[in-house]
Chain length 425, copies 2
């Protein structure tokens, strides 16, 4: 076999050709070790966006990216190890609820998460708003905590799918994000490298999601399920709408507080419903149930009897955080100095509350990052006072803006309002 | 008007959109001054290869690249200033013949040329095989020589279409060469920046050219003529076949010797015929003749009476070279130490003599460069002893290999033979 050259791979894809597994392994390893220049990778990525990849190519790229670093083996852990991944939404704190619910009902949740970028938040940023908590665990600590308490959420280690890290960063700045094969391979390479045997994917669609339509989300979900199965993972995908934000809180500490409320049985109904659904499917993926509804009573019991809350506390404490956050979040989490209402401009019914606008407002307040590497402000964000369908009177708050200053609150309010439609009844 | 961002241009082209002139100016200037990263330029180039550009976009890009550096104004020179450009072929020494022919018949030829890359040679490399001759002229010297003797061939100055230099180098390594709009804009941006009011393009097609077919060459020619006319240049395109090498010599000093012979009226017929044709069209482009055939007697006279040879001598001397090269090339030019025949493997008629194979053999001998910046060997190359259609006997030489060593000659011979077809009569 001759060694492929990057130029020949670019030319082949440009002309509508297909790559085989050794070629994609050469590409992934070259991206990971820096031996392939980024301009060649960028040209190849655009050729893929324009010409597409077959299912076999996508699968081979996924495995090649997963194996460009070390692949965790979690098979020695007690109980079925289940991972959960969301394609990203606004106010999406489901991992913080679902993970303790699943752990309290007999599954082992060993999950590596990401940080927020753009209008969607990231689980790691949210967790770090808990004083003392660290997400930078060694592989040994990650494994030990999963074995001891059945629940760990940590940052991706540097050698987790390094090819994907390089390609993902390049896609962000070269207009090569919107490609179903590249999106699917990116997500699944990390999930496969992270070692769980069963994976539940929460694929979001709508105004606040990367996938605009349910059909697009379904196509992505089907591709990812197929990729997982080729790599001997049991994968279930759940499609969920993301037109308005999930729950009411958008912002790191604000979302942790809402997640704690949800684990205590006091969360907003849309968030609670989605979390119970996903946790149910985690049992199905793990082979512990045939039907997610069959798990519902056990999940409700874990909320009611406090066992899910104790799992969450155990995880927070194991990772160095203040466990009291699960008893009284407001006493433990940071607060923003200015909390200003965003008044409704007239009477009406809330017909649209654009998740993207709320996400952008939260980023403007400092809760998210525009560029990789920016620091986020744990305290700031938006708390919705109304959800789509609610009737509202002029002057009543549509939302509360948690800000560093009155000016920042006002600016963020304008961004939210641009995403609001109030219709006369 | 908002400032465009490179990311938005990439995304627009990726999605089949079109760019306006300010956007392409932003891109060309950003490429020239290094403010746009090469990975973004590479992604944009691939999007152009996949999605194409309209005629208006191609014209705007051409002008933007031409004006990314300084544009020469040669209007003050005496006589009509005519440039000539070949899209590149094997054994293509036409510039060395055509330029003195045109200058000896009343035109001013002020030409900036390039270096060879891959299997095609470059005029600068050929000229530099003449001892002492320099192609690195300042703009002032370039202009002065054109005014004084009506003939100058120099290297492109650093500020000639710098955007094209950046994009051309990137295209070479990112699989984005084969795009008609990009090829046309690259050539014409340099020709427009180089200042001639009239331009004759020699667009080659066939086995040894970048354009495989006559139709592809015609499409490129039509695009370039339209681009030139939009920039107020009078442009004529000549289509010429490049299946076997032009003339018999391939290699730098070998081609200079053949060009001198041609200017003396002792050149191979295919080369002489093409040179007279192109020189005739230069008179048409300059507005000095209606019909290239009308100029033929004057061109023949310039060969016969030695005036073309004296123009060539004057140019060589003005640029520091040894003028005796036009009297006795063999006495002045460097020689290779090994000159070996390539015997015909059997009797037959030469049905095919692939220009690409001969070009590759010359590169293998050291006459060309595989990578930008490599040094070339002036002395080595291939001299054909037979052309397509010739009958040949087993053991008779098909070609002579001018090499540094017997091993190098043997290796090059094998490359030539792979491109040879001898048919039984």
């Amino acid at each position: 076999m001759t060694t492929p050259t990057m130029l020949s791979l670019i030319e082949s894809k440009r002309d509508g050709g297909t790559h085989d597994a050794p070629q994609l392994r050469f590409l992934a390893n070259g991206a990971a070790d820096g031996s392939l220049p980024d301009y060649q990778l960028a040209a190849w990525l655009m050729a893929v966006v324009c010409r597409g990849m077959t299912e076999a190519e996508t699968a081979d790229l996924t495995v090649a990216m997963a194996e460009s670093g070390s692949v965790l083996d979690l098979s020695a852990l007690p109980g079925p190890v289940v991972d959960k991944h969301s394609t990203g939404g606004v106010g999406d704190k489901t991992s913080l609820v679902v993970a303790p619910l699943a752990a309290a009902t007999g599954l082992t949740v060993a999950k590596m998460s990401g940080r927020g970028l753009g209008h969607t938040g990231g689980t790691l940023d949210k967790l770090e708003s808990i004083p003392g908590l660290s997400v930078d665990l060694s592989v040994a600590d990650f494994r030990r905590q999963a074995a001891e308490i059945g629940l760990v959420i940590a940052g991706q280690t540097d050698d987790l799918a390094p090819a994907d890290r390089v390609l993902y960063a390049l896609r962000d700045v070269t207009g090569t994000v919107p490609s179903l094969p590249l999106i699917a391979a990116s997500i699944m390479s990390k999930k496969i490298a992270a070692g769980a045997a069963a994976i539940v994917l929460d694929v979001k669609y709508g105004a606040g999601a990367f996938m605009p339509t349910r059909d697009a989300a379904r196509a992505l979900a089907e591709t990812m399920v197929a990729l997982g199965e080729r790599a001997d993972r049991r994968v279930v995908a759940v499609l969920s709408a993301m037109d308005e934000p999930l729950g009411r809180a958008v912002g790191n500490a604000l979302e942790v507080a809402e997640a704690v409320a949800c684990v205590r049985g006091e969360g907003p109904s849309d968030l609670t419903e989605l979390c119970v659904k996903i946790a149910g499917w985690m049992h199905v993926a793990a082979g512990k149930a045939q039907d997610p509804d069959a798990v519902r009573p056990a999940l409700q019991a874990a909320i009611t009897d406090g066992s899910a809350l104790e799992k969450l506390r155990a995880m927070v404490v194991a990772q160095g955080g203040d466990g009291a956050v699960v008893d009284d979040p407001a006493a433990v989490l940071p607060h923003a100095p200015h909390i200003a209402p965003l008044p409704a401009p007239h009477d009406g019914r809330l017909a649209r509350l654009d998740a993207r606008a709320v996400g952008d407002a939260a980023v403007a307040l400092g809760a998210g990052r525009r560029h990789k590497g920016e620091r986020v402000d744990a305290a700031v964000g938006v708390v919705l006072a109304a959800k789509v369908g609610d009737a509202i009177t002029r002057g009543e708050p549509l939302a509360w803006l948690h800000a560093r200053s009155a000016d920042a609150a006002e600016a963020a309010g304008r961004i939210v309002l641009a995403g609001v439609a109030l219709t006369a009844e």
